[in-house]
Each structure stands twice: as structure tokens, then as C-alpha cells.
């Protein structure tokens, strides 16, 4: 009796690890929509005719794409509070590890999504806007009712690709102490002295999550293809 109980207590770590598998999903579910929205803003800025809008967008995209995500995470987590103290003499720019992680993932992926969205908007035939305008639509209506929905179909597959990539990149926020899947696996591994097994277990979980996302993406893609979507090669890991 006593030994069964001991055995079960011993096995609790497995449940802890499995439960921690929700963190990559949480982080992605929060950061990816933000990245798409921010990416759309960047894409719109970049398409704008005034340089006051397009240049900052270009600068942001190039800087973000030119530096490693891990460095960006450290920079935001450690340097931003310092800047807050320097400028405002307060903790106003100090954010917790989890929100910081979401922000960094979103900010980083926004740069890539903006390029995807820009290409998607450009891929919509110019005649579509003209047809919409000739019906008496305003530019805004033409964009909202005609151009954006078509661009959206084009960009779904590459964005889903990036979503799978982000799922794996969420492990980077463990570096600032977010207790997500990788961190949990490490903690258990240290405690039980079975670190390599735990890394292996975490890998399998990441892979299962990625596969799940991948098939979800394929399914969405197929649904869209059936409705006449186009293909657009792009995305963070297809450059």
C-alpha cells in the first residue's frame, strides 16, 4: 500500500510535464494574433505614401529580422526597465516575464507577418480595387470588403507555417524565467537527476504540438483552396 502511494507520488512529475505543455499553446495563442494585427499595421504603414509612416516600418522590420529573438527578449526584459528608471525614474517600463515573453514573440513575428501581409495585399489584382471603386465604394470599403478578404486567403498558409514556428520559439522565453514547457522539464530533470530523459520528453511534446498545429493548418488551407485561394511562398522559415 505504502509503496503504491510512493510510486504514484513519484509519477506526479509526468502530469506536471504534460500540464506544462499548455504553455506553448497559451503563448502562441496570445502572441500570434497580436503579431498578425501589428503586422497588418506595419504593412499598412509600409504601403503608405508618406515616408513618415513607411520608413519607421521599414526600420522596425529590418532591425527585428536582423537580430536574434533571444537577444530581443533579453533586451526588452533587462534593458527596458533600466530605460524606465532613466527616463521616468519609475518602474513604468518594468514588465513581468510572461507578458514580456508574449510581447517579444508578438513583436518579433509581427515583422515577418507584415512582409507576408504586404505580399498578400500586393497579390490581389489591381482590377479588384477598381471594380470596387467603380461600384461607388470608398477606398476604405474597397479595402475592407474586397481586398483584405482576398489577401487574407492568400496569407493563411504562410501565417499558419509561422504559427508552428512560433510554437517552438516559445521555449526561448524560458531564458527570462517563464515557467513554460522547457523550464518545467528542466526543473523536473534537475530534481530527479534525469535531465536528458526530460529533454527528450519535452521534445516529443513540442513535436506533437507542432504536428497538431500543422494538420490544423493543412485543414484550413484545404478549406480555403476549395474556395479558390492562391498560393504565396513566404514566411519566417521559408526565406
Amino acid at each position: 500500500m505504502e509503496s503504491i502511494r510512493e510510486y504514484l507520488v513519484e509519477q506526479i512529475f509526468i502530469w506536471k510535464l504534460l500540464a506544462a505543455a499548455r504553455y506553448p499553446l497559451y503563448l502562441t495563442a496570445l502572441a500570434m494574433p497580436l503579431a498578425v494585427v501589428f503586422g497588418l499595421v506595419l504593412a499598412a504603414m509600409r504601403r503608405a505614401k508618406t515616408r513618415f509612416l513607411s520608413w519607421p516600418a521599414v526600420f522596425y522590420v529590418e532591425v527585428v529580422r536582423g537580430t536574434p529573438l533571444l537577444v530581443q527578449i533579453f533586451l526588452v526584459y533587462f534593458a527596458l526597465p533600466k530605460l524606465g528608471h532613466l527616463l521616468f525614474n519609475s518602474d513604468i517600463l518594468t514588465i513581468g516575464p510572461f507578458p514580456c515573453g508574449v510581447l517579444c514573440l508578438a513583436g518579433n513575428y509581427a515583422a515577418y507577418e507584415s512582409e507576408i501581409l504586404r505580399a498578400g495585399l500586393d497579390a490581389v489584382d489591381k482590377g479588384q480595387r477598381e471594380a470596387a471603386l467603380s461600384l461607388g465604394m470608398s477606398e476604405r470599403q474597397a479595402f475592407g470588403y474586397v481586398i483584405l478578404p482576398q489577401a487574407f486567403r492568400i496569407v493563411i498558409p504562410p501565417i499558419v507555417n509561422d504559427m508552428v514556428a512560433m510554437l517552438k520559439d516559445t521555449c526561448l522565453v524560458s531564458a527570462i524565467g517563464v515557467r513554460e514547457l522547457l523550464k518545467t522539464a528542466e526543473n523536473i530533470g534537475r530534481e530527479k537527476a534525469n535531465l536528458s530523459e526530460m529533454y527528450m520528453a519535452a521534445s516529443i511534446l513540442y513535436m506533437l504540438l507542432s504536428l497538431g498545429c500543422y494538420f490544423l493548418g493543412k485543414w484550413v488551407e484545404k478549406k480555403l483552396k476549395a474556395k479558390g485561394g492562391q498560393e504565396l511562398p513566404a514566411g519566417k522559415f521559408e526565406h
Binding site: 489584382d125 471594380a131 470596387a132 471603386l133 461600384l135 461607388g136 465604394m137 470588403y145
Partner: protein, 272 residues
């Protein structure tokens, strides 16, 4: 221009009522892309219910002219009137449109229907939605009103049975007829056709021309750019021959095709 051209309605004073009142008047329309001058001052009057075809060699500015009429292109000089009221004016290339001008352009496009060479149906909507979207989103009609209009217009072009289809599953001729229905659903004063059948084979062309003929019989005012001489001759009340950005000759189709009042027409018709 020839001296024995048939009389054109005077531009100065016009009768307030009656068939001769111009529906659309274009005066001195000039358009250039940077240094490249495309339209050098085009004048044209179209009366209500009239079908005008525009002919001319490639690159003479026919498409540009139609696009200026509904301000898909801004022109630099001249004026366009609808029912005697100024609806657009030339504007220097370096000046951006004011809010008012943008609103005016939108109001103008509402009254001018356009049919494109490449149909430009909205591929993410069904055939029915393509025709309903204008009445619903622009004219702010209720769903059932918009549905009724769409049903009438799609029936008119003989494609009501296709209303639930995706437009891209239709043949080119069918797509063009849906595009015509979409423009008609806005109840425009005048319809512009830019080589509406150039992308179509002869059978599909015949179907689209059938619809255009029907519209002409119903009294729709239309300006058509076409490379189909037989059709132009058959459908036109008046034919305009354009050359190098100006109207070189205008008259009845017989006058243009048979008398060939300017040497350009001679060359143009022989080549065709």
C-alpha cells in the same frame, strides 16, 4: 476633321427637356502620365439612350479616356458633366485630391457603371453576392431589396440559375454577364464598356453582345470601346474615331465606316 460631318449638338445652349439633351458632356479632357501626353483635349457629348462606340488604333487613349470618365484615372484639364451638372474637373498631377473631391469622385462613380475587359468579379463572393454587394454596402439597401435587384439583373443577363456559384467556376462570357449585372444593379445613368469581349471566344462574345443589344433596346446610355467592327457598326448610334489622344472623327457608323472621313480610319480599318 471633315467639313461634311453630320451636325453635332451644340455645346453652348441645350434644350432643358427632350431626347437631344446631352446626358454626358466631356469638354477639353487632357491627361498625361508624367511627360507622356495621352489625351490632348477630348470633347464628346452623349445623349440619353445613345450608344456610342469608340474606335482607334492601339495606344490612342481609349481605355484611358473611359477610366477618366469615372475617375479611375485623374485627368489634368477639362470638365465632365452629367445631366448638365459638373461632376468632375481636371486637377494638376502634383495636387492630391481633397476630401470633397474624393467624395465627389465616389458620387460620380455611383452614376457611371463600368465593365472591364477582365471582368474583375470578386472571387471570394458568390455570383449573387457580387451583384448584391453594391446595393447593400453602397446604396445601403436592405438584404431583401438587394436580393430582388440582384435577381432581376441576373435574370436579365440570363444567369439567375448561376447565382449560388463561385464566379471563377463560370465561363468567361458568363463572368462578363455577371459583371454587367453587377454594374446594372447600381442603376447607373451611363455604362462604360472597355473591350468587354476581347478576352472571349466568338460564342461567348455573341452572348455578351446579346446582353448589350438588349440594354440598348431598353434605352441604356452606353459608351463602348471595342475592336469588333461588325458589332460597332451594328450597335452604334454614333461612332467616335480616336487617334493619338484626340477625337479625329465622329458620326453615324455609316459615315465613319463607309466614307472614312480621315486617313487614319482608312489605315485602321484595313489593318483590322
Amino acid at each position: 476633321m471633315s467639313a461634311e460631318q453630320p451636325p453635332r449638338p451644340p455645346t453652348a445652349k441645350l434644350p432643358a427637356e427632350g431626347g437631344a439633351a446631352p446626358l454626358m458632356e466631356v469638354e477639353g479632357l487632357k491627361k498625361s502620365y508624367g511627360p507622356k501626353v495621352v489625351l490632348r483635349g477630348v470633347d464628346m457629348q452623349v445623349t440619353r439612350g445613345e450608344v456610342v462606340t469608340i474606335l482607334g488604333p492601339n495606344g490612342c487613349g481609349k481605355s484611358t479616356f473611359l477610366r477618366c470618365l469615372n475617375l479611375l484615372e485623374q485627368y489634368q484639364d477639362g470638365v465632365v458633366k452629367l445631366k448638365g451638372e459638373v461632376v468632375s474637373r481636371g486637377r494638376p498631377e502634383d495636387r492630391k485630391a481633397t476630401e470633397e473631391e474624393q467624395a465627389a469622385a465616389q458620387a460620380l462613380r455611383l452614376r457611371v457603371g463600368m465593365v472591364f475587359q477582365r471582368f474583375n468579379l470578386f472571387p471570394h463572393m458568390t455570383v449573387l453576392e457580387n451583384v448584391m454587394v453594391g446595393p447593400k454596402k453602397v446604396l445601403l439597401r436592405s438584404h431583401s431589396e438587394a436580393y430582388d435587384v440582384a435577381e432581376r439583373m441576373l435574370s436579365k443577363v440570363g444567369l439567375w440559375e448561376k447565382h449560388p456559384c463561385d464566379p471563377l467556376t463560370l465561363s468567361g462570357g458568363q463572368q462578363q454577364r455577371v459583371a454587367i449585372a453587377r454594374a446594372l444593379a447600381m442603376n447607373p445613368d451611363v455604362m462604360l464598356f472597355d473591350e468587354a469581349t476581347s478576352a472571349l471566344d466568338p460564342v461567348m462574345t455573341r452572348d455578351v453582345f446579346g446582353v448589350v443589344r438588349e440594354l440598348a433596346a431598353e434605352g441604356m446610355t452606353m459608351i463602348l470601346v471595342t475592336h469588333d467592327m461588325d458589332f460597332a457598326r451594328d450597335i452604334s448610334d454614333r461612332t467616335v474615331f480616336m487617334e493619338e489622344g484626340v477625337v479625329a472623327a465622329v458620326g453615324t457608323p455609316e459615315y465613319i465606316f463607309d466614307q472614312r472621313p480621315v486617313p487614319g480610319i482608312q489605315k485602321f480599318l484595313q489593318r483590322g
